[in-house]
Symmetry: C2
């Protein structure tokens, strides 16, 4: 499959990257990050989530950010995560036009994540789909589509069954299979996406990779080879891993941008601008940064001689 079809990288740093940071990142700093990411070529940015402010205080200014994007960044698609029909309703009332629903394939993860059984979350999604205002774009995130921190490897059949149920509810939704724990391997990613794409050829698929075990870029490349053209990533690899404190989390936006640039796949991203935002993002108080490209590019001009090496 020697293709060079373009890829859309969806920036999830302001949401998935920042949500786990203890110290509150001032709204002005988030605005600055979103504006600079947009200027670097990111056209869709998950700017936050509509969730309990007591459970996730870092996300409490999502409505303000959403308003700012509407006023100041007309070319940007701000995406917001919603875990329930009620929160989706709040988001729509606040002006959101791009929602990201989250449901876990694995029962224990869905209960831990959104306090519902997968069946309850699925039923809420169906109800939401039926009442969605025209012009709303829906991203359907299937968390733990490969592996669950509580239950281990997730059967491909369980993912396909959930797709069979949820895709017909809103056939235009973009479906993202999420490697929540970072424990998917490239063959697993390729296999599941090949089966999903073959089963639902009219569906737009996306992939959400974590780099916790060093397989972020490998898995994204496998998804690309399987036909996926939308990839989530977090600037500076921000995010850590809630299930592995101290380990890194989301695959870094700049690492994906660099990989695709090297292989001649267009992303529309300005690498210099992106790396500049990534450096500042990595330095945020409380941040756990990942990614390799920042350090490599910073050092690449400082060539030095060396003794025999390969």
């Amino acid at each position: 499959m020697a293709t060079n079809a373009a890829v859309e990288i969806v920036e999830v740093g302001p949401r998935d990257g920042l949500q786990g940071i203890g110290p509150f990142v001032p709204t002005a700093a988030k605005v600055d990050m979103v504006e600079r990411l947009h200027a670097a070529g990111l056209k869709r940015i998950e700017i936050g989530s509509f969730v309990s402010a007591s459970a996730l205080p870092q996300m409490r200014d999502t409505p303000e950010l959403l308003r700012h994007c509407g006023d100041a960044l007309p070319g940007l698609v701000p995406q917001v995560l919603v875990p329930s029909r009620r929160r989706a309703s709040d988001a729509l009332a606040a002006g959101a036009r791009c929602l990201a629903w989250v449901i876990s394939v694995s029962e224990p993860h869905n209960r831990s994540n959104v306090r519902r059984s997968p069946d309850e979350s699925a039923a809420e999604y169906e109800a939401l789909a039926a009442e969605l205002p025209p012009g709303t774009f829906m991203r359907l995130n299937l968390a733990t589509a490969f592996d669950c921190p509580f239950a281990g490897r997730v059967d491909e059949a369980a993912v396909l069954a959930m797709l069979d149920r949820l895709v017909p509810a809103l056939p235009d939704a973009e479906v993202c299979l999420c490697d929540t724990t970072g424990r998917a391997d490239p063959a697993h990613v390729a296999s599941l996406f090949r089966r999903a794409v073959a089963r639902l050829p009219g569906t737009a698929f996306a992939f959400h990779a974590h780099d916790t075990y060093g397989l972020g870029t490998a898995n994204v490349h496998a998804a690309y080879e399987a036909g996926v053209r939308v990839m989530d990533a977090s600037v500076a690899g921000l995010g850590g891993c809630p299930f592995a404190p101290g380990a890194t989390g989301n695959v870094a936006t700049e690492d994906l941008a660099w990989m695709f640039a090297r292989r001649g796949v267009a992303t529309g991203i300005d690498m210099d601008r992106l790396v500049a935002v990534a450096r500042d993002a990595a330095a945020l108080p409380g941040a756990t940064a990942g990614g390799r490209v920042r350090a490599a590019l910073a050092a690449a001009d400082r060539l030095c001689g060396t003794a025999p090496t390969v």
Copy 2:
């Protein structure tokens, strides 16, 4: 290509990983590292190099290490790097039975690395091949087979031309294509190996990946899919990058072992033992460590709840 054929991981940490470390790592510590790596299932270990002790003082105890392996670790294949016919002769005299020759495809890198033109290095290799004692195993490393720190992307045709010249000199040699700078991308790796394997179907190929730009595991996976079954790696990702000071270097042995284990490919490696060596290796004074799996596994047992995430 859904195969699960076994892979041999060749540990190059004691050579590629340690050579750039300033403070001398005591021979006893190197012995301990090699013994523990062997106990973790690494069957071939590049223990050092025969090079100028003034240029690369860290490698000055390679003869001692080699002697120790011969005496104490009969099941281990100790591999040593040699940059010239004279050094190869020294290595053979010291008891080496597995040599790793290095020649760069790119002219400026070969001159910088071994002070010769590629043509001169090729002629020396041919001469060495003709005089090699029976029973000697030769690894032929083609450095800068994808990208050169001085000249940029390397043409696939130049690599194939070098193979056309050097493989016939010693058809039993194992040929390793090395991504010296870490700037290869998975499509490049797959393309070059597919062409090389198709051109020289009787040759055993290996891949030497660097993780400088975060593509180490992605590139190794691409090589595997292209049919390569021998992969170099460095414990704890030791090595840094001589061309990008401060950046990480070799792909980490534990990251490869983990990736292959997840996809059901046998490596013969005991993960717990390997990670224990890797933790100590990463803590060596002066070391630049890479890899993700150490931190992820250390944290994986400390599950904690979290608010909605994907």
